[in-house]
């Protein structure tokens, strides 16, 4: 196993989460949920720490991380954009909305923009079929999205980023 290069306090944080679940192997999914909630993603080194704490093989942890679509090993953008690909959204044109996001941001599904601000993902039904097609950005939900609104949605967040930067500058 390669030496773990994570910062000490990061390692401690992961250890604390594992301890919270009594270092039980059967709590792996709950541990992963919590750790991903803190870091945004689950890189290999983080998985190694978890495996050690729960006294199980890294391969097993990796197997679970890659099995479930909720867990990711790639960092998300600051504003993760998710396009619902459930059937109701699909028949109401989610594919065209997705294509427009890809075109505007110039990234593929599962990737982040170079500045790390946006990432695109597809979701399997958020259960808001009455609002189809649905797009979520972080926790905010956009309903009945048409391809020509995509530019505006992105601009909304770009403004937010610019304002933040202006404040800190």
């Amino acid at each position: 196993m390669p030496e773990i290069k994570l910062a000490e306090n990061t390692v401690q944080l992961i250890k604390d989460v594992c301890a919270e679940f009594e270092n039980k192997e059967s709590e792996l999914i709950n541990v992963l949920h919590k750790v991903q909630g803190k870091f945004g993603y689950l890189p290999a080194e983080v998985q190694e720490v978890i495996a050690k704490e729960l006294k199980m093989g890294v391969a097993k942890v990796y197997g679970v991380v890659t099995f479930y679509s909720f867990f990711t090993m790639i960092p998300q953008g600051e504003f993760p954009i998710s396009i619902c690909m459930g059937t109701a959204c699909y028949v109401r044109g989610a594919e065209q909305v997705l294509a427009e996001f890809k075109r505007q941001l110039k990234v593929e599904v599962g990737e982040s923009t170079d500045d790390g601000k946006f990432s695109i993902n597809c979701l399997r039904c958020v259960g808001a079929c009455g609002l189809a097609p649905v797009v979520t950005v972080g926790e905010k939900v956009f309903g009945r999205v048409a391809p020509n609104q995509v530019k505006k949605i992105i601009a909304e967040y770009r403004d937010e980023i610019n304002n933040e930067e202006a404040k800190t500058a």
């Binding site: 999914i29 479930y68 909720f70 059937t87 039904c125 958020v126 259960g127 808001a128 189809a132």
Partner: protein, 489 residues
């Protein structure tokens, strides 16, 4: 929903009427009355008999008789047993479980405690998708309030019966709706199904007898206890009793949840409750049962909906998703869409599902891109049947259903793709062709200026032309032309 006359709300009885974060609201609607009655007046045997004679069947899609499931779990001897609520609503287009959990969480908690009393379990676990944060929050509140009132916990209603409820979170895997996969996921493992038997009723969570029921099934239980099995079994058809919640979505005017007695026809649901098709378009198909179901034509509109009729029609009840499609939807593309879902969600454990569905998807892609042959349709059928017969779990066994049902019901559309190179719905871009009618074109250059790939050439005031080798079939010229000079074939 405009027309509520056709509806009858049992599972959704309190949704939207009570404050789900106030247990007092639920109690005011006879909440926890059924649990009290069971614990203080009835023996587990009598309660199970009541559920059995009510005719309630599993609302998650399987349709297994609920009372029988409880009885089987009860009869297995073990000190430790579990009641599990399957709230891993993964079927795209279905959101009835989310609505119940968000709108009436106590009805599920009450029913789980009743089930625990019947089968001899003192622990209930709700397995819920992490994608439903509001439902999770409301359940947590509900559990806390019920504990404070002593309605779950130790010695409920001074009966000596103890019952606690915990929660586990899914992490985005459709296959975890399958009982055995769900149990593995609860144990912190990959959610892969295993061969049944042993059934969870014998060896489930932590190898202990486990009774798994769906949210909607549980939500119906307190009503049956309160109003009696003989009231419940008068509703519905001969073999499917009570009501079913459907999530009506797609190209329909009124989108939302409807709860109707079993035996209501598709026409009543789509036209009378759903208000018909959007934008005055023609009804083409209704898809029930999600990725495991099938697409029904207008010939089935007068079929009374129940478990058995839908299976006979080549679809299934599933969890209750109902997606309506109009004349603009290409059925080959729809079949392909569902297979994309299955491909992504297949756990990969057994070959027919992992590899077979991949091959099905490749053939469908070939057809939608205009390279299919008549033989491909036959190949789809043969391969679909092999996957159905040889897959390990319900996901694989039902994954070819959208393909088989679209071939059976919309065979002409497949033939149009492979024989004539046309997509009748105009959805498969590779099969479209835009042309400019020379006589109608005024040479206004509007299409020329708007074409994103420079496929249109022509002099001002003279007819323009589309270079088919450059055209990406985006349809912009067609929309922009003011003289109807562009045809789509």
């Amino acid at each position: 929903m405009t027309d509520t006359k056709k509806q009858l709300r049992i599972a959704l009885r309190n949704c939207g009427l009570i404050d789900p974060e106030q247990i007092e609201d639920y109690i005011a609607q006879d909440g926890y009355f059924a649990l009290g009655k069971c614990l203080t007046e009835l023996t587990p045997e009598i309660v199970i008999e009541e559920i059995k004679s009510s005719g309630l069947r599993g609302r998650g899609g399987g349709g297994f008789p609920t009372g029988l499931k409880w009885e089987i779990t009860k009869n297995v001897k073990n000190e430790q047993k579990y009641v599990v609520c399957n709230a891993d609503e993964g079927d795209p287009g279905a959101f009835m479980d989310r609505s119940i959990l968000e709108g009436d969480p106590h009805s599920v908690l009450e029913a789980m405690a009743i089930c625990g009393y019947c089968i001899g379990a003192n622990t209930g676990i709700i397995y819920i998708r992490a994608e439903y944060p509001l439902a999770i929050a409301r359940l947590k509140t509900a559990i806390k309030q019920a504990e404070e009132y002593g309605l779950i916990g130790d010695n409920i209603f001074d009966s000596g019966f103890n019952f606690k409820i915990e929660m586990r979170y899914g992490a985005g895997a459709f296959v975890c709706g399958e009982e055995t996969a769900l149990i593995h996921s609860m144990e912190g493992l990959r959610g892969e199904p295993t061969v049944k038997p042993p059934f969870p009723s014998v060896s489930g969570y932590m190898k202990k007898p486990t009774n798994v029921n769906n949210v909607e099934t549980f939500a119906s239980v307190p009503v049956i206890i309160n109003k009696g099995a003989s009231w419940f079994n008068k509703i519905g058809t001969e073999k499917s009793k009570g009501t079913k919640v459907f999530a009506l979505a797609g190209k329909i005017n009124n989108v939302g949840l409807v709860e109707v007695p079993m035996g209501t026809t598709l026409r009543e649901v789509i036209y009378e409750i759903g208000g018909g098709i959007m934008n005055g378009k023609e009804f083409k198909s209704v898809q029930t049962g999600g990725p495991s179901g099938g697409c029904l034509t207008k010939d089935f509109l007068d079929t009374p909906i129940d478990y058995d009729n839908l299976i006979a029609a080549g679809s299934m009840m599933g969890s209750g998703g109902m997606i309506v499609m109009d004349e603009d939807d290409c059925m080959v593309s729809i079949a392909k869409f569902y297979l994309e879902f299955t491909l992504e969600e297949s756990c990969g454990k057994c070959n027919p599902c992992r590899i077979g569905n991949k091959r099905l998807h490749e053939i469908l892609t070939k057809i939608t891109e205009g390279n299919g042959t008549v033989d491909d349709i036959e190949r789809l059928k043969v391969l679909s049947n092999v996957i159905k017969d040889t897959s390990l779990c319900g996901l694989g066994q039902s994954s070819p259903n959208p393909v088989l049902s679209t071939i059976a019901n919309f065979g002409d559309e497949y033939l149009a793709h492979v024989k004539d190179g046309k997509c009748p719905a105009g959805q498969c871009k590779s099969l479209l062709r835009y042309d400019i009618v020379e006589d109608l074109c005024t040479g206004c250059t509007l299409c020329f200026r708007n074409c994103p790939v420079g496929a249109i050439t022509g002099e001002r005031r003279l007819p323009h032309f589309i270079d088919q080798s450059l055209c990406i079939k985006c349809g912009v010229c067609f929309e922009k032309c003011k003289f109807d000079a562009i045809t789509l074939t």
